[in-house]
Symmetry: C3
Subunit: 376 residues, 3 copies
C-alpha cells in the first residue's frame, strides 16, 4: 500500500524481475546469503523479553539466534549453538534461565553475556580459553521497541539502512517518534504462513494498484486508495480517512484516543513504510501495525503481524477486535493474491517477467536493489 515518486514516464510499462527470481532454489540461497545473512533483521519485540535471563529463540536468515535479556538490562544475541559438540543451546521458543545458559547434552554452561562459565571436568582442560569458547555473538540493536540483529561480521550502518528507510518515507525522524513505539503494548499478534516468495509480499505491500480490486474494506476507509494511482505519493504524505469514518476500524467506527505524541497533521492519516528486506509498518493515529517476515524457501514465507496500542488501552482490557479485523482482512487478501501469483512464476509466460504500470514504477527500485545485492 505504499507508492513512490510521482514523476514517472506517463503511460509506460517497465519490466519486472524474471520469473526464476521467485522459484529457483539457488536464487533463494544467494538472497539468503547476500541479503538476509548480511542486513539488519527485525526478530523480536523487546517488550516480550523483559526480565534478566529471559530469552527468545528466533530464525534470522539461515541461523537460529538466541536473544537474551542481560542482568544489566540490555539485550544480547548469540548463535544458538553450543561450542562443544553443537547441540542447540536453548530448546524452547522462549523461556527464562537462571545465572547460566546450560547445554542439555554435556552441560557446558555459559554466562548470559556468552562467556563459557563451566563444564564437567573443565578444570582438567587448562587450554580452554573461556572467551574463545564463548557463544558466537550476533550484532543487536533495539529500536522502535524491537530487537534487530545482523549476522554480518561487519554490519552495515543501522542508521543508513533501517532508520533512513523510515525517515526517507516520512520526511523527518521526528515523525516516527510521535508514535512512541517503544511505549506501546501488544494488543494482538497474528502469524501467517504464506505459500509465496518474500519478494511478492514486498511488491504487494509497495503498490496500491490492487487496492480497488481486492481491498473493499480498506478503500472504504481510505478512499484515495480506490484510485489505484493514488497512494502515498509524496514523501511525508499520508492517506486521509474518509469523511464519514471515525477510526481505522473494520466498520469505520471510532477506535481509541489518539496516541499522545501524534500531531494534528498525522491525525486521520495512514502512513505505510517498507524497511527492506523484511519489515512493513503501518501508522494510524491510535495504533501501529508492525509486520516482520521470515522467508523459509522460494515459496514459503512466515509473516508475524503485531497490533500495538497505547499501553493503557491494552491494560484496561478494551476490545481491540474492530481495529485488528481491518488489517487482518487486508493481510489475508494480500497473502491470497501472492499465493495465486507464486505458481505462475515458473510459467513460460513469465519467463522474462511481467510489467509494472506507472503507479507501480517504484517497485522497479526494489528490483534493482535485489539484483544489485545478489550480484555483489
Amino acid at each position: 500500500m505504499q507508492s513512490g515518486s510521482p514523476v514517472t514516464p506517463a503511460g509506460s510499462l517497465i519490466p519486472t524481475l524474471e520469473g526464476s527470481w521467485y522459484t529457483a532454489p539457488d536464487v533463494f540461497a544467494r538472497e539468503r546469503q547476500a541479503i538476509f545473512d548480511r542486513d539488519w533483521l527485525c526478530v523480536a519485540r523487546a517488550g516480550d523479553i523483559p526480565a534478566p535471563g529471559q530469552f527468545q529463540v528466533v530464525q534470522a536468515g539461515s541461523e537460529s539466534v538466541l536473544v537474551v535479556r542481560q542482568r544489566a538490562g540490555g539485550l544480547r544475541a548469540f548463535l544458538n549453538v553450543c561450542r562443544h559438540r553443537g547441540s542447540r543451546l536453548c530448546l524452547e521458543e522462549s523461556g527464562q534461565t537462571g545465572r547460566y545458559l546450560r547445554c542439555s547434552y554435556h552441560a557446558w554452561a555459559y554466562e548470559l553475556g556468552g562467556r563459557l562459565a563451566a563444564a564437567p571436568n573443565l578444570a582438567r582442560m587448562p587450554d580452554i580459553d573461556r572467551d574463545a569458547y564463548g557463544l558466537v555473538p550476533v550484532a543487536l540493536r533495539e529500536w522502535l521497541g524491537y530487537a534487530w540483529v545482523c549476522l554480518a561480521k561487519e554490519p552495515p550502518s543501522f542508521e543508513d539502512t533501517v532508520v533512513s528507510a523510515v525517515t526517507g518515507r516520512l520526511g523527518t525522524e521526528q515523525a516516527i517518534k510521535s508514535y512512541a513505539l517503544d511505549d506501546l503494548a501488544l494488543g494482538r499478534r497474528i502469524t501467517y504462513e504464506v505459500a509465496a516468495n518474500w519478494k511478492l509480499l514486498v511488491e504487494n505491500f509497495m503498490e496500491c494498484y490492487h487496492c480497488a480490486p481486492i481491498h473493499p474494506e480498506l478503500t472504504s476507509v481510505l478512499p484515495e486508495f480506490a484510485g489505484g494511482y493514488a497512494a502515498q505519493y509524496y514523501v511525508g504524505h499520508g492517506a486521509e480517512f474518509a469523511e464519514r469514518v471515525s477510526g481505522f476500524t473494520i466498520d469505520g467506527s471510532p477506535g481509541f484516543g489518539r496516541l499522545p505524541g501524534v500531531t494534528d497533521e498525522q491525525d486521520r492519516r495512514y502512513y505505510a513504510i517498507t524497511i527492506r528486506p523484511q519489515v512493513f509498518i503501518n501508522l494510524v493515529p491510535d495504533h501501529v501495525i508492525f509486520h516482520r517476515m521470515i522467508p523459509h524457501g522460494p515459496d514459503h514465507t512466515t509473516v508475524i503481524c503485531d497490533w500495538l496500542f497505547d499501553a493503557a488501552v491494552v491494560a484496561s482490557g478494551q476490545d481491540v477486535s474492530r481495529s485488528v479485523e481491518l488489517f487482518d482482512r487486508v493481510n489475508l487478501q494480500d497473502f491470497a493474491a501472492c499465493e495465486r501469483t507464486q505458481p505462475s512464476m515458473s510459467s513460460r509466460a513469465y519467463e522474462s517477467g511481467g510489467v509494472l504500470v506507472p503507479s507501480e514504477h517504484h517497485i522497479g527500485d526494489f528490483h534493482t536493489w535485489v539484483r544489485t545485492r545478489v550480484s555483489a
Copy 2:
C-alpha cells in the same frame, strides 16, 4: 495390452532402458521439455466444456493451461497467466465466466479470444498494445471428442503424430470413426494417482505378457490374452471375446447395444491403441475406455480414465457398473504392478536395465523413440 510386429527374432532377449531413465530428476526434466512441452497432449473432454465462457484449467507439460469455449463455438487455449504481474487468471479447475476473463489481483480483463480488453487506468497508458499484452495462446485441436493442446511454438503435424498412431494401429482411419467418439457421453470417470514413472505405464499398456499373471478377469473375457504371446499381433487385429461371454463386463454378462457405426468385423472384439506420449484408448462394441496421463515427477503420474457410452445409454440412467468394473480392475492391477516396479529402477540390479522377451520386443521401439526425442 497392445503388442507389435509378429516378426521378431525367435527367442532372443533385447535390453530395456537403463534404470536411471525412470528415476533421475534431470531425465524427467528433459522428457518434460523434449516431449511433453512439444507434443500434442490430450487435456480435456470437449463435451465437458459445452457453453461459451465455460473453461477448464488443465496441467499440460510444465504449464497450467486454460481451455475456454468461444462465443463462436470452438475451443481455444492459453497459458493461465495474467500478463501484468503474473497471477493465475482462472483459479478454479473449471467454471463459467461472462464476457471477460478477469484477473483477481489488479483486474486486468481479457476477451475470451485472449486480447486485453480492459484494466484500471488503462486509458492513461497509451503505449499498451492490447494484442501484444493479450493472453499467451496455446495450439489446440479437437479430435475424438477431446481437446488436444501443444505448447510448442511450431507444433508437429497433428495428423502425422496423433491421427497416424490410431490409423497405424487399426489399419484405416475409418475404423476409429465407427465408434463416433464425438457423439459418446461420459458414463464414468476415475482418476488414479500412480507412484510410478509414466514410461512404466506405457510399457505396461503395450504388452500382454503380464495378462495371465495379473489380469484373471480380462483373460477370462479375452482368452487369447492368456497366452502372453498373443495380443493384437497384426495391424487391425482385435482380440476376440470368449465364446461364453456376452459383453465386455466384469462377469461376461451382456453390456449395451452395439454402437451404431461399429461393423460386424469389430463386433465382439477388443482393440487397444497407444498414442504417444500419454493416451491409451480401448475400443469394445458398446463403449470406449479412454485414458490420459499427466506425469508429475519421475515417480508420480496421474491417470484420468473415462468410460464413454452411447449418449442414450447415459441419458437413460442405465447402470454401467459392470462395464466399468472390468477395466477399473485391470487399471488397478496394472498400476499396482508399475508401483512394485518403480522402486527397483534405482537398484544396481537394474543399472543397465532389464530384458524384453519376444512378445515385448515392440516396447523397444518406444524406448528408441524416447531416447531419440530426449537426445534431440
Copy 3:
C-alpha cells in the same frame, strides 16, 4: 557409552568433523557408496527366519535385499529385483514362499538359491542362460545370531572388520562367546526413527561425557559413568554395577539368572561395543542389547534395538519390562540429544566443527575413518 584409550594429551581439545558432514546430501550419497554399499552390514536376526523358504526383505545401503532360508539350512541374500523387467520380487517385509520365489508381474520364478527356474514361454526362448538370469547374489555371513550382508563385489574380510571390532574391544574372541548370542531369544524389539545423522548416533554411543547430564537411570546403575571421564577405558574393561544394584534394570531390582557362559569376571559388568558403521552391542550378565542402524538420509536414521535373553526366560513368559525399560530410556535420551544437535550442523557456528574433550578423543579415530573411507 564407550570410550577409548586412556592416553590422551591431557586437557587438549581436538576438532570434530565440519558441520557439512552431517547435512550435505552429496556427503550422504558418498558415504552410502563408500561405506554402506561396501561394508558388512547387520540386517536381520537369523532366528527370525528359521524355516526353508522363509524370507525377509531388508534395506542394506542403497538396496532392497532379500534374505532367504535355504532348503539346506543356510541363509542366502539377493537383490530383491526380478531380472526381467525389474519388479520388486518379494513385496512383504517378511514371508514364507514354497519351492520358488515368483515375480508377481510376469511370473518369472527363481529357485531359493537364485537360479531362474521357470517363466511363461521360456521354452521358446532358447538363448536364456538360467544362471546368468538368476537373482543377483549378495554376500552373506551369519555371526552372533545375526545375518550380515555386504553389497561389495569383493567384500572386505569379515574377520578383519566385524569380528576384530568385537575382539579389539573385549580383548579376546572368547569374551563374546561367553554370551552365546546364537542361542539367545528375542525378548523385545523397539524401532526408533531418529531425525539425526547416523554419525551423531555413533559419536553419542562412543562417549560417556554426556552420561551424567542425560542418563540419570544409567549412571545410577553404573556409577563410574557419572564421572564423564570414566567409561570403558581399557581394552576389556567393563563398567561395574553399583553395590546396591541387583540387576541391570530400571530400578536396580534383580534381572534374570546369569547367562550360562558368562564368567565371574564378566558378572556385574556392562560392556559396550561399536561395530562400524551401524551396530552397537551392550553386554550385561543376563541379557544383550543389540542395536542396528539404517541411515535414510543426512538427517534421518532408523535404529532397530533387540533385547536378547536366555531362551528359557523368553519361553517361560517372564516379564522382561524392567530390563527393557532401562536401555529404552537411555535410547530415548540419546536420540533426543542427537536430534537437538542435528539442526546446528548447518550453523555458521559449526562450519568448522566443534571440539572433543579428552574423554571424547577416541571419536577422532572414527572421524578419521569416515574421512578416509569417503575420500578413498
